[in-house]
Symmetry: C2
Subunit: 284 residues, 2 copies
């Protein structure tokens, strides 16, 4: 695996590859890889002749009170895991190479980043769309793969790609879960064994929403209610939000007459976890 | 000259050209071409194997009270002028192709768009950087040429290109003037003969700043003052701003110890005109 730290060098690599007719699939990451990342990478591997990934814990998507400095990092282990896929080229820049002095430009998707995490993490999605736009211009991929676990992030990036005419395809990949249902996340590393048990209530709450849907619910409020019932009965878990909204626009929605996503954010101890499930009335 | 209206078709054209080893120079315009545009195009012609231009009166860079609907248009004449350069490919999309329903993403350069026109045209530069980012992703140029007449626009775009890692070179081109000194602008078409005479005070004011500089001025305020003296004595001309600021960052600056731009915006009748001149203490 080739490791490149310089944005300019990465652009030269990508540009040469494209000129030679290669196709590039790209999986951006913040490292501390788990099976979710590796699933994205294997999917990318199958779609293009070159598989590129990036490892960059992006400071601009963390609010000052968030976990930027203690975000888990293990570069050597991440490289080993990438070699198993295998990843062809890893872009791993320093923060000063990504945000040199004087940096002041931002990319923002507006409506889709309101509500849900957008209401609780001010500046987060602006940081995400900005760094992803930069990475797209540096890595020049034909395909970019993102997990559905970060659902609002996925929708914001899809919106940005369409609105700003990025010439690439966003490939969403289903959330990978532990055997007991917990959505995989680098932040799961923060959980004590006891907290990890409590965290299972989140995926259980989504299963409750699923059951409610399967039993013929007609309104989004019914799904949110079923999920809330489970979470409110879990001691030591603090609900940040439970919402059932339009799965495309993330706008409020009343009737279950189009695809809906039920999205949850909750704190277990000091750890903020998110998860979601989509419901399509047409496929049932 | 090939004329393309579809963003997707333009991307295919550009992608194929790049893969075949062509280089693309790009001159984005809002049409109603004058010698300033044609100078940009000839400069682009000399730099690359393909010369692309665009003609799009971008609605998002006009405030609701501005002249979007009456902005001068003459597509047939513009095409004829482009053929004389010659331009190889013209991208001329409809507004609905550039901003389909649901569009909601913006690109913004922040500090550099504060002050000067940024203070008087709210939303203007956000509209400019957004449409230029879109055009870059559609036309995929190696070089893009912009006139120094729109100096803050040039600096905002240069900032955006660096900050978002667009893999292209911005080529600034000196302002082209009428023989009597008036900076060329599509908006000069709005001026009556009498207004046109009055408008000459703007370039005269910049010449006064130049004289002041040549005579050994040491502070930016002296340059602004010299320009203001001329404009304030011109009846029927309303000053919007006269500023002497850092020519790179457009931040306020006191001493003439680094490159400075003197920038003017003024109204003559209903027509808003801008002009500027740069001063480099190192070259004198």
């Amino acid at each position: 695996m080739k490791i490149i730290a310089s944005p300019i060098e990465m652009q030269r690599y990508a540009e040469n590859a494209r000129r030679e007719g290669a196709t590039i699939a790209f999986v951006p990451t913040m490292g501390f890889l788990h099976e979710g990342h590796l699933t994205l990478m294997r999917e990318g591997r199958a779609r293009a002749s070159i598989l590129a990934s990036s490892l960059f814990v992006n400071p601009t998507q963390f609010a000052p009170n968030e976990d930027f400095s203690r975000y888990p990092r293990n570069f050597a282990r991440d490289c080993e895991l990438m070699e198993t896929v295998p990843v062809d080229v890893l872009f791993a820049p320093e923060p000063t190479a990504m945000y040199p002095a004087g940096s002041q430009s931002w990319v923002e998707a507006t409506e889709v980043t309101r509500g849900l995490c957008g209401d609780h993490r001010p500046g987060h999605f602006r940081g995400v769309t900005t760094v992803v736009a930069k990475l797209f211009n540096i890595v020049k991929p034909h395909f970019a793969l993102f997990g559905e676990k970060d659902f609002q992030q996925l929708r914001a990036i899809q919106r940005m790609v369409v609105d700003l005419n990025f010439d690439l395809e966003i490939v969403p990949v289903a959330t990978v879960r532990e055997r007991d249902g917990l959505a995989m996340s680098s932040r799961n590393a923060y959980l004590s064994p006891e907290e990890r048990q409590r965290a299972l209530a989140i995926s259980r709450a989504l299963k409750a929403a699923r059951q409610c849907f399967d039993e013929g619910a007609r309104y989004t409020a019914q799904l949110a209610c079923a999920a809330r019932y489970v979470l409110e009965r879990t001691p030591g878990l603090e609900i940040e939000y439970i919402e059932a909204v339009d799965a495309e626009t993330l706008a409020p929605l009343k009737a279950l007459d189009r695809p809906v996503v039920v999205a949850i954010a909750a704190r277990v101890g000091a750890t903020r976890l998110i998860d979601n499930m989509t419901f399509s009335p047409f496929s049932n």
